[in-house]
């Protein structure tokens, strides 16, 4: 682990009244400070923060459309108008939908997509990978062969197939992405656990006579989880990228304020010189994915210095 100046301070000035909880939080803060030392990570975090604010305060930034706020309000008198015309800051698309509105409310959908898919795949993948690694033998073989099958199909094509079978809707995109993304976590955690299980502190815990669940909870998982955190951060961006691809192809409901759908809607106007719809929506996707990649890389450098520059 890293030993910044903060850790030396705790080592040299022990105050007897400190509790174990404060010591542990001090250690976490120290890691946090280390992460913030990288300017690129700070840029990434800032972008994420701005998107979050946008999602949270969407009703204040753009008055919600009734009855469905995830459908842009139509201004039929201003179709395909460039940015700045008639109060449409970023212009309108070919059905008179406001692009800025689409991006603001689209951030809610992106956040929803990222959080749901990553949370689900992280938990499910970790469960599968942990069972495989902790049990070993036949169960490990069986689970890993299943994982191999999933891995052998390109994730975009696989997600596309699932979403196509389930029918076009936003929740089916979530399902399709969840079905694709969990395998990576299962692989990563399995490899890490097998490595950590060799450590003498696991043997020491067994000699002491602690239960396997406690050993998993206290010794194995905390020491194997670091690459998962990094991967989850990177996937927060990747999920939106692939999700946008799916709705670009038309697997989301028509007219949804989803960024990928917006890029798709503006596509036909591109040749006619109506660049603003696809560009601004595409920019939102790029910024979102870039921000999480910057943070993910920064986290990796601090938490897992051995894989630096991979």
């Amino acid at each position: 682990m890293t030993t910044g100046p903060g850790s030396k301070k705790t080592a040299q000035s022990p105050t007897p009244k400190k509790s174990a909880v404060t010591v542990k939080w001090a250690r976490r803060l120290e890691v946090g400070r280390e992460v913030l030392r990288n300017p690129l990570t700070v840029i990434g975090l800032t972008i994420i923060f701005l998107f979050l604010m946008m999602a949270v305060f969407a009703p204040l930034l753009a008055e919600p459309n009734q009855p469905d706020p995830y459908q842009s309000p139509r201004d039929w008198s201003n179709i395909d108008s460039p940015p700045g015309v008639a109060g449409h800051v970023l212009g309108t698309d070919s059905t008179g939908g406001d692009v800025l509105y689409g991006i603001i409310w689209g951030s809610r959908l992106s956040l929803q997509l990222s959080v749901t898919v990553v949370l689900f795949t992280l938990v499910f993948g970790t469960m599968v990978g942990s069972i495989a690694a902790m049990r070993g033998g036949r169960i490990d073989n069986l689970l890993m062969r299943i994982v191999d099958v999933f891995l052998s199909i390109p994730e975009l094509i696989f997600a596309l197939a699932i979403a196509a079978v389930l029918g076009p809707s936003f929740s089916n995109i979530i399902l399709a992405l969840a079905a694709v993304f969990w395998v990576k976590y299962a692989r990563i955690i399995r490899g890490e656990i097998i490595k950590v299980k060799q450590a003498d502190y696991v043997a020491a815990a067994r000699v002491v006579g602690d239960s396997s669940w406690n050993i998993y909870r206290k010794d194995v998982l905390p020491n194997a989880a670091t690459p998962l955190i990094v991967q989850a951060t990177l996937d927060m961006g990747n999920v939106v990228l692939i999700g946008a691809t799916l709705s670009f192809i038309g697997l989301a409901q028509a007219g949804l304020t989803e960024w990928g759908a917006l890029v798709s809607a503006g596509q036909s106007g591109l040749l006619a010189g109506e660049w603003w719809v696809s560009t601004f929506a595409g920019l939102a996707i790029v910024l979102w994915a870039l921000a999480f990649n910057l943070v993910g890389d920064g986290l990796r450098d601090v938490l897992d210095p051995k894989t630096e520059g991979r």
Binding site: M1, T3, S7, T10, A11, P14, P16, K18, S19, A20, V23, K24, R27, A199, D200, Y201, A203, A204, A205, R206, V207, V208, G209, D210, N214, K218, D219, P222, N223
Partner: protein, 462 residues
């Protein structure tokens, strides 16, 4: 090794033993191919008999890969043995009983013996005794690992590491736990100020102290020290060793001290067991083993130990490298490397091949095929008769030639070799309380003299 021969080779101690091993084996299967078929076994531990006397220190020495760490892990319950029995807390009489009854088929036992065997297995044998007893054994037998860096969970505070055994076995928590952990830390030379720190905030020696504190938390009787000082600086080593000696005197601990460093074990151990390729080759009181080893391997280990008291005799040296533990040599396992190996030590076809490859690679290249009828008989085929003659003359005068059933026979372009079969060496009592598995020592009662003819420049006896 058959049950009969192993039961006769079990050495017992004339006091209570904390743990007694009977013909303990750990064989790891070697799997090959897509079907994962078992093609052989790595014999990490191969038939070990050992008794560890209560309150004493037993030093277990051997080079890396000889199985000493695996043996330690078997005793601590981390690795399940694939054969043999482990007994806890046997009296001197019970050790003799176990020794005797193991050689007897259960159907042939008298009713009294059968009852005795049943009691022994239910009360003292790992695997067949009650859960309560197993738990008690777990508490009583703790381990200090070699690598203090990897034996402490980097994410836990010292309080949680040292306090863990107390949490698990005594449900201690809160202020009570803190108090007990501080007591333990003070016992190993640390203090209350170290309670809320992470392992990375300590030096190697301090970490090993934390490791020792954890091992002592449950007041065990028996501690396995798996090379506890080999990862430490020499100056720190001495401190840790002194701490261990003090703790033993204070708490009446029994130690199994696993190490490759004879210098360390010489000062710590009451008895010493020398291990080579999964087997114990010599056992005896430390002073005596050091003064007059009864196995060539112990002698080599002792002589290779650097000393400040002038030049040691370096004539005793091993040749070659450790053989493949999947197919260990016949007879005495040391014989292909042994400086005093003789005809009866278990030479076989494999030895001819490896000896030729090592000593005369040119002749080895001329070998076309080898038809083995078994491990002791084979026909070696060459391109022409000249090569075959060259092969035979190369063997002339060597100890390999002497151990052959009849001299190697040249028939056209092939050579027939045929060795006398030798049964596997087993530990036997040479003198009172001193055991050796050296076949030649068993014949003569003392370690054989260095074979002058094998010496390049025989300086011995000056």
């Amino acid at each position: 090794m058959t049950t009969a021969s192993s039961s006769s080779s079990l050495h017992t101690v004339d006091t209570d033993s904390v743990v007694t091993l009977n013909d303990v084996k750990v064989h790891y299967p070697v799997k090959e191919g897509a079907l994962q078929r078992v093609t052989g076994h790595v014999k990490a531990v191969d038939g070990v008999d050992l008794s560890i006397a209560r309150g004493k220190t037993l030093g277990l020495v051997g080079e890396s890969g000889c199985g000493k760490t695996t043996l330690g892990r078997v005793i601590s319950g981390l690795v399940a043995p694939t054969g043999g029995d482990i007994w806890m807390d046997l009296s001197a009489q019970q050790q003799l009983d176990v020794n005797r009854l193991r050689g007897v088929n259960e159907a042939e036992m008298t009713a009294q013996d059968r009852q005795m065997w049943k009691d022994l297995t239910l009360n003292s044998r790992l695997g067949s005794m009650s859960r309560e007893k197993q738990r008690q054994y777990r508490r009583n037998c703790q381990v200090v690992f070699q690598d203090a860096f990897s034996s402490l969970n980097p994410r836990q505070l010292v309080r949680d590491i040292v306090g863990r055994p107390l949490r698990v076995h005594e449900q201690t928590s809160g202020a009570e736990l803190d108090k007990k952990v501080i007591e333990l830390l003070e016992r190993v030379g640390l203090g209350a100020e170290h309670l809320l720190r992470f392992p990375h905030q300590f030096s190697g020696g301090q970490r090993q102290r934390i490791s020792i504190a954890r091992a002592l938390a449950l007041n065990p009787e028996f501690v396995i020290l798996d090379e506890p000082t080999s990862a430490l600086d020499v100056s720190v080593q001495a401190q840790i060793l002194n701490l261990l000696v003090d703790l033993q005197a204070e708490m009446g601990l029994t130690y199994l001290f696993i190490t490759h460093d004879l210098g360390v074990v010489q000062h710590m151990a009451d008895h010493i067991a020398v291990m080579y390729l999964g087997q114990i080759v010599e056992y005896g009181p430390t002073d005596q083993v050091f003064d007059s080893p009864l196995h060539p391997y112990s002698r080599v280990l002792r002589d290779s130990n650097p000393s400040l008291e002038g030049e040691r005799n370096r004539d005793w040296e091993l040749s070659g490298t450790v053989p493949n533990p999947i197919e260990p040599p016949h007879g005495c396992r040391l014989h292909p490397r042994c400086p005093v190996a003789a005809a009866g030590c278990g030479w076989s076809v494999s030895d001819v091949m490896s000896r030729t490859e090592e000593n005369s690679p040119v002749i080895f290249e001329t070998i076309k095929t080898v038809d083995r009828s078994d491990d002791y008989n084979a026909q070696i085929n060459f391109e022409n008769e000249g090569d075959a003659q060259g092969f035979v003359s190369q063997l002339n005068g060597s100890v390999i030639n002497e151990s052959m059933h009849r001299p190697p026979e040249v028939r056209g372009a092939s050579v027939k070799v045929s060795f006398n079969e030798v049964s596997d060496a087993s530990l036997e009592q040479i003198q009172d309380g001193r055991w050796s598995s050296c076949i030649r020592t068993q014949e003569r009662g003392t370690l054989p003299d260095l074979n002058k003819s094998q010496q390049v420049n025989g300086k011995e006896g000056q």
